[in-house]
């Protein structure tokens, strides 16, 4: 990634004071995002991916939230920005697409009006008619047919896929530089998922939009991501380029995620593999590596918390948090026999 990052997150920590103590939802997450790049953040529910994204745009601010670290957009620090500044940035610099298009629009207002509202919240001098024309153009650009007529429909008159397109149109209304898509395809049919992903990909390419794609679906990741951040229990356990993560995953948790993908090019397993156990309570993390209790390869060193660092000599940007050495990893991974895609030619791995 040669381009200068537009968004730079350093050691982001987000905790929430609860009755059971401080819940560390996000712990020391760092990443950079360049214009035109798609960064996927992957993990199970509760791994801290949505909290990370919402913290960046100030939506997790509250009396009970403890936020530390640094989030810089174009060099401007967001974590100490006042509420008015954050409000201006939301929508204008950072657009956000949410998971469930069924519930993410207000049911009592027309879709067009909801997008006009977003435009006029930032650009007061834009007249209603002018804003409406912009919405029609936006609807056309995200592939909603009969845009002129459909902007006066209510959300319940749209199908799920169309609604998600409208959501994307809204996120793009003010031509933001960063788009955060939080599980944008999770609530959609598989066929619609592909359409929405391709739409996001096109927008990303055409507009040079820096995109953060939050998902638990590695199929989605494989489709569009440039780089991948794998999160577990609020921490990044592995990061690298798409190829590095898919062809040479280093962390047993990533292997588990890969293993639970359904594969059309392999014999159908008797049961879909899964990662045994469930994620630890964030209020009561195990000592050392948080994945330890579920990890089949745990050994004595694992009670020490591993740093996120490059452990492969030839891949300085491929970092992970696992004590196993690379040779052991490749060996154990192969024993499981279900990891990774077949490396295409020219990728010297595994």
């Amino acid at each position: 990634m040669s381009a200068a990052p537009i968004l730079s997150v350093r050691d982001l920590r987000v905790g929430f004071a609860t009755e059971g103590g401080l819940l560390q939802a996000v712990d020391k997450v760092s990443f950079d995002l360049a214009p035109g790049e798609v960064l996927a953040i992957v993990g199970e529910s509760g791994s801290g991916k949505s909290v990370t994204a919402q913290t960046m745009i100030g939506l997790t601010r509250s009396k009970n939230a403890r936020i530390e670290g640094s989030v810089k957009l174009d060099g401007e620090e967001l974590l100490d920005a006042d509420d008015a500044t954050m409000r201006r940035l939301r929508g204008e610099k950072i657009g956000m697409v949410f998971q469930d298009p069924m519930t993410s629009f207000n049911p009592v207002y027309r879709l067009g009006a909801q997008i006009v509202e977003a435009i006029r919240a930032h650009q007061e001098d834009v007249g209603k008619d002018q804003a409406r024309r912009r919405v029609v153009e936006l609807f056309e650009s995200v592939g909603i047919p009969n845009a002129e007529r459909r902007i006066d429909d209510y959300p319940h008159e749209f199908s799920g896929g169309m609604r998600q397109r409208a959501m994307i149109a809204m996120a793009l209304a003010l031509e933001p530089e960063v788009l955060i898509a939080d599980e944008p395809t999770t609530a959609l049919d598989v066929t619609i998922q592909a359409q929405i992903l391709h739409l996001l990909e096109d927008l990303n390419r055409e507009r040079g939009l820096a995109t953060i794609l939050i998902t638990h679906d590695l199929g989605v990741v494989a489709e569009v991501a440039d780089r991948v951040l794998v999160m577990y229990a609020g921490r990044v356990v592995e990061e690298g380029t798409l190829d590095e993560i898919f062809y040479d995953p280093q962390h047993p948790y990533t292997w588990g995620l890969m293993g639970s993908l359904t594969r059309l090019d392999r014999p159908r397993p008797h049961r879909l593999p899964q990662i045994a156990g469930s994620p630890p309570s964030l209020l009561d993390l195990p000592q050392g590596c948080p994945f330890r209790p579920r990890c089949p390869h745990e050994f004595s060193k694992c009670t020490e918390y591993p740093a996120l660092e490059a452990r492969l000599p030839d891949a300085p940007d491929h970092r992970d948090r696992c004590w196993l050495n690379p040779d052991q990893k490749r060996e154990k991974r192969q024993v499981e026999g279900q990891i990774g895609l077949e490396a295409p030619e020219g990728v010297p791995r595994g």
Partner: protein, 319 residues
Amino acid sequence: MLRFIARRLVGMVLVLFVVSLIVFLIFNVIPNSPPAQRLAGKNATPTLVKSIEEEWGFDESLPKQYVTMMKKVFTGELIQYSPRVPVDDRIKEGIPATLSLSIGAGIIWLAFGLLLGYLAAIRAGGWLDRTLTGVAVAGISIPVFLLAPVLIYFLTYKLEIFPNGGYVGWTEDPWEWLQHMILPWFTLAVLSIGFYSRVLRSNMLDVMNEDYVRTARAKGLSERKVMSRHVLRNSLIPITTLFGLDFGATIAGTAIITEVLFNIEGIGLYAAESIGKLELPPIMGITLYGAFFVVFINALVDIAYAYLDPRVRLGSTAR
């Protein structure tokens, strides 16, 4: 939308028909004594009873009796027998006072209920919220028959701010009308102010967790706009239903106590007097009048509901 309204009005007529049937059954059929005797009142002469029996056709079949009764109700021939006064006239006389009282109280409880509920919700958990909760619970807990005498005692006898009960038509003297109405309005509204503020507060706290509120924030709306345009707007939908039911019930019955306490010559006071003297025709007439208002206002509310929540307008969309 027109189809929706038409459908709702047909429904309204059907409900009123059923209500009238029930009233007929309760007053004329179910009691185990000659209906003419009861209609005539306490000290009726045998001749009066006899004439009532003929007039109402109590020797005929039940459907015929029902038709006779409805004819009387609709043509204004329903009369009370001691003294002989058409029930219709008395109800018409009472309507301005009762509507003044109910509508004024309705506006007050809605305005204050929503204001206090809104403030409590946006300051949820803070001292303002806790104070308002206390006030609301107090308002809900104080019975009207206690509140009214206390208000009358202090504000009318001691401080002499307000006149002592009675009703002045607002066409006669608007200022006097207002002065006479303020205490009854607040007396009638206090319970509902407390109740509505609680309901709105909890509705708003629910709506605040909706995804679309997060969307509204994510697109950079100011907190005030998020609250008023998205949270409050959507929280008002259930309030509308509640208001329809309560307002109808107020006109049709709840106002009785307040009218008696403040000596306001409305329909409530007439109902209370008639019940005291066991006069059936007025009670019958007032029951039907009340049912009409409850049903009519609920039809209005349903129409308002369709305006407030586009998902309700099923008839107007293609589905």
